[in-house]
């Protein structure tokens, strides 16, 4: 496919996506060759088949998939392209796995500027290169104007878990320590600050990042980690509730131990949001036996993506499976699942 030549190159400055780019004909072949392959190029993609073939290394294989529909497509600290790489790498890594490769499905809306598409695909390529995880296979579809919000990207990742590592959401035990890898709410607030009807000036940037390097360091130091999960949509509150239900335990956290940037805190005040429920894209929650907690915390803090890691609470026996929090004021409350969208208060 790399040998094909098209008499007129794609107009990556002024051009837009049209229905022919998804038709399966020459226009689609040109889009793939001059845009997708050019940026994402790697050995697996170069095989040029409808699938990429590779020999898996020894160990348990894990697979995960994630659809990305973020709006706006570009936000401070990232864009939908790098987000779609980081998001799936992180889902794979939360099993303690080393991610091997990704597959990406693109749904493009007619009218999307090719310049935007190129910027996004270049960002994906950069994220994949930095992570050392190639995009091995892909697919492109185009839908009519109004049927998608610019573009949607679904990525699927495959990884392999080192022998002896058994990380799963159902392994939290009473007494276990609960750690987070850094400040919460950065991504959600960064994205919201760019929404068209919410113009507030802020330097907050998305924390979007691939966490498999951090996870590898953590697993090497403490192979007996019980649970890992990245608190994306629904934030820390939702993740802890998921883990509590899966493990049939309760949790107790301390509000004053949870790291939140002052500017995120302030933006949440403004918007009537609770940082515990705001999305993250470069943070993880770890649950480990109490005797491993300080070693794990030290390893996390030694890694650039875990520099602000903190011990925020403990797992308790609780038939109700509640996540409870001692507030910074000294009172107590339940930290429930997120209900609906997190909506701003009006007065």
């Amino acid at each position: 496919m790399g040998e094909r030549r098209f008499p007129v190159r794609l107009d990556l400055r002024q051009g837009t996506v049209d229905l022919s780019h998804g038709s399966g004909g020459r226009a689609m072949a040109q889009l793939i060759e001059e845009l997708f392959q050019r940026h994402l190029d790697n050995d697996l993609l170069r095989q040029g088949n409808d699938q990429a073939a590779f020999d898996p290394p020894p160990g348990r294989l894990v697979i995960s998939t994630d659809g990305h529909v973020v709006s706006p497509l570009f936000f401070p600290g990232g864009d939908i392209g790098c987000l779609s790489v980081h998001g799936t790498i992180n889902d794979v890594a939360m099993a303690g796995a080393r991610p091997l490769c990704l597959a990406a499905g693109f749904i493009l809306e007619e009218g999307l500027p090719l310049a935007d598409l190129e910027r996004i695909v270049a960002s994906m390529a950069r994220a994949a290169n930095e992570a050392g995880v190639p995009v091995a296979a892909g697919d492109t579809k185009v839908v009519e104007r109004g049927k998608a919000d610019g573009l949607f990207i679904t990525t699927t990742g495959v990884g392999v878990v080192p022998p002896g590592v058994q990380i799963s959401g159902d392994r939290a035990r009473p007494g276990d320590a609960i750690l987070v890898s850094g400040t919460l709410g950065d991504h959600g607030v960064a994205v919201m600050s760019q929404r068209e009807n919410l113009s507030f000036g802020t330097d907050i940037r998305s924390d979007t990042a691939a966490l498999h390097g951090l996870v590898a360091a953590m697993v090497a130091a403490v192979p007996g980690i019980h649970c890992l999960r990245d608190p994306t949509r629904g934030g820390l509150a939702t993740t802890l509730n998921e883990l509590a239900r899966q493990s049939a335990v309760g949790m107790r956290i301390r509000e004053d131990a949870i790291p939140v940037r002052p500017e995120v805190e302030a933006a949440c005040e403004l918007l009537g949001l609770d940082p515990l429920y705001v999305a993250n894209e470069g943070k993880l929650v770890a649950i480990c036996p109490p005797e491993d907690a300080s070693r794990l915390l030290a390893v996390m803090r030694a890694h650039p993506l875990g520099a602000q890691a903190a011990l925020v609470g403990e797992v308790v026996a609780d038939p109700h499976q509640f996540v409870q929090m001692q507030t910074r004021l000294g009172g107590g409350r339940i930290v429930d699942w997120l209900a609906g969208e997190q909506l701003p208060r009006i007065c």
Binding site: N197, P262, Q326, L329, G330, G331, G332, G340, C347
Partner: protein, 386 residues
């Protein structure tokens, strides 16, 4: 000073809790109504009740603008969006409030109506400017806090001669609601010893309009800020008034509230709005002189006049106790629907929608599961008075 964490400081909270515990007379109870949903939210979110002595109870008042909006008005708004094909701009909390037969604006949006969530009246104006061929209606609700921004929008629309913008006005007034609560106190059996008065509302109307509370009803009122330490300090001020037999309007929220309030905002409201003869409040019924409508000078921007609207059905869900919860007569847990068929994901009544609604606060922050282990622990925290 960063104006956030200073008002949530644990050390100060402990000292206030100790003072309240020392001041409270164990031989009596203190039933304090916090008027505003903002107070209710702070009490639950920060676990303020855990820091109070056992004989001090917060009664949750009707000051949640989403909660007191009658179902009929929601029905009318849904009708505007669906039948008149307008772009309806609304504050987000309103999207999920159930109307008759469990319709809602969010369901109307899913059915194709153009309903937009906005953060301010300025967003609604911007939407109207961007599409002059389309009728844009701002669904205005709220107490005196949100009224001045609506007045500004109406003046701007007039100045810009916008013919595609109008306001569906549902603004209500705080003092008549307070009067209604205190007047019905005896009939319903809600006993209130003192009131934590509105916070943001009072920045606009000032502290003077509350004089009737001690004068006519013999209850102390302390204007209280929305931060947890504001609520605690105000509770202490009320307990002291009650113990010393004083009965006055006091102002805890001095950093924002003056006796006369914001004169400029008041003048703006007087120019753009006039009193409605009567208006229905959810839970409180029809109250005389309790709401605003758009003044004749701005009548051409009044959505109620521009679009023929049938009176909404206003059918309550059977068994929903929102009206009693709003008056403080019942706790959310006294409602049969609470937590069974009515949850924040699937609200039957308005009090389960807004984070300022008592039912949503009970459910989300788990007070109905009282006493939880954390709560108990907090009560016995070292350094606190027994």
């Amino acid at each position: 000073m960063r104006y956030i964490e200073e008002f949530r400081d644990q050390g100060l909270a402990k000292r206030l809790a100790t003072s309240i515990a020392a001041e409270a007379d164990p031989g009596r109870t203190y039933r304090l109504m916090e008027f505003c949903g903002g107070h209710t939210h702070a009490i639950f979110r920060y676990g303020v009740q855990d820091l109070m002595p056992f004989n001090l109870k917060f009664i949750h008042g009707p000051g949640c603008p989403v909660c007191v909006l009658p179902i009929a008005r929601i029905d009318q708004a849904i009708g505007l969006a669906l039948d008149h094909g307008v772009t309806l701009c609304t504050y987000a909390d309103l999207m999920r409030v159930p109307g008759s037969e469990r319709r809602s604006l969010i369901k109307a949006k899913a059915a194709g109506a153009d309903v937009r969530m906005v953060y301010s009246t300025q967003d609604a104006l911007a939407i109207a400017r961007a599409d002059p061929g389309r009728q844009v209606v701002f669904f205005a609700i709220g107490f005196e806090t949100t009224t001045p921004p609506t007045a500004v929008a109406l003046r701007q629309a007039r100045a810009e001669r916008m013919s595609n913008f109008s306001v569906f006005c549902n603004h209500v007034l705080t003092p008549p609601a307070l009067r209604a609560i205190l007047s019905s106190e005896c009939d319903d059996g809600v006993r209130i010893d003192g009131i934590l008065g509105p916070s943001h509302v009072s920045t606009v109307i000032g502290s003077a309009p509350y004089g009737f509370v001690p004068a006519e009803f013999g209850k102390p009122l302390v204007i209280a800020g929305f931060e947890p330490l504001d609520v605690m300090q105000s509770a202490l001020m009320l307990v002291r008034q009650l113990n010393r037999g004083r009965c006055e309007v006091e102002n805890q929220y001095t950093r924002a509230v003056t006796p006369e309030g914001n004169r400029k905002a008041q003048a703006l409201m007087a120019e753009v709005f006039e009193l409605r003869e009567t208006f229905e409040w959810r839970g409180l019924g029809h109250l005389t002189g309790s709401a605003l409508k758009i003044a004749p000078a701005y009548a051409d921007l009044d959505a109620e006049l521009r679009f023929p609207m049938a009176p909404g059905e206003g059918r309550e869900v059977k068994g929903c106790e929102c009206p009693s919860v709003l008056r403080g007569v019942k706790d959310p847990v006294d409602c049969k629907l609470f937590g069974s068929v009515c949850t924040p994901e699937n609200p039957m009544g308005s009090c389960m929608v807004s984070s300022e609604g008592a039912c949503a606060a009970y459910w989300s922050y788990g007070r109905y599961r009282n006493p939880g282990p954390v709560a108990l622990e907090a009560r016995q925290a070292p350094g606190e008075a027994a």
